[in-house]
């Protein structure tokens, strides 16, 4: 898994490449925490290069969404969610907890 964080005017974009499981999820949490630690609470998670995500990755996203929304009026939104991952998200009941966008830049514009 590779993670790349890019700064925009009103938000940061965290792009995930590869596979997120129990082994790599701590790295994703760390990247999201680093953004939150700078005081940026609007985050786009770009999943266009994501191949796989287990519940360990879901938990990392949920924990960040909680902090951003509850304490800081921010939001984590998801962009370009691959079909298989979207299906697992639906099973887990995560679709109502995250706004999703077809395109990362469209997601940036929404925040």
């Amino acid at each position: 898994m590779k993670i790349n964080t890019k700064e925009f005017k009103h938000c940061d974009m965290v792009s995930i490449e590869g596979r997120v499981d129990s082994s790599s999820a701590p790295q994703l949490s760390k990247a999201l925490d680093a953004v939150i630690g700078k005081g940026v609470y609007k985050i786009v998670v770009d999943m266009s290069q994501l191949e796989y995500m287990s519940s360990a990755g879901f938990r990392a996203l949920l924990a960040s969404q909680r902090v951003c929304r509850r304490y800081h009026r921010g939001e984590v939104v998801l962009a370009s969610v691959p079909e298989r991952i979207r299906e697992a998200f639906e099973l887990a009941g995560f679709t109502e907890l995250f706004r999703t966008y077809g395109d990362p830049l469209e997601a940036v514009g929404s925040l």
Binding site: D21, S22, S54, R84, E87
Partner: protein, 135 residues
């Protein structure tokens, strides 16, 4: 049944997904089912590593895979702490963000993704059996 032994570290999850993925593709499951089988097995193995062995890195567990009677049978056998599925609450998927519990999701996904999920305590160890039927 083809069986592979793995160590109780999260680094093995990639190899476990490749192993069951190959078996599922060999049995001509479609890509959606292959993903489901890989995800369910990953969740099961993550639970073994995290809960049965509780962070011990020297544990071993076996993953078995076999296609029989129209279904892919996946077994996980470990020698760690026994798992009592009745102690795991189903996650409340209707709960809003602040009430949403962060655990219990793995086993919930396993049950949703597979047609059968069974836990047994045997003389050989803790045995989990999952079945995905074709079509």
């Amino acid at each position: 049944m083809q069986t592979v032994t793995f160590s109780s570290t999260f680094d093995v999850l990639d190899d476990i997904r490749s192993f069951v993925g190959e078996q599922a593709r060999g049995a001509a499951f479609n890509e959606k089912d292959v993903y489901s089988i890989q995800l369910a097995t990953d969740e099961a193995a993550s639970n073994v590593i995290e809960h049965a062995y509780q962070g011990r890195l020297d544990g071993k567990f076996d993953v078995g895979c076999e296609f029989r009677k129209g279904g892919l049978i996946i077994t996980l056998l470990d020698h760690g702490e026994a798992f009592d599925p009745s102690k795991i609450d189903e996650p409340d998927l209707k709960a809003d963000l602040s009430d949403r519990k962060i655990g219990g999701l793995g086993i919930y996904l396993m049950r949703k993704l597979m047609d059968e999920v069974r836990y047994e305590t045997t003389q050989a160890g803790n045995l989990l059996t999952m079945v995905k039927r074709k079509g």
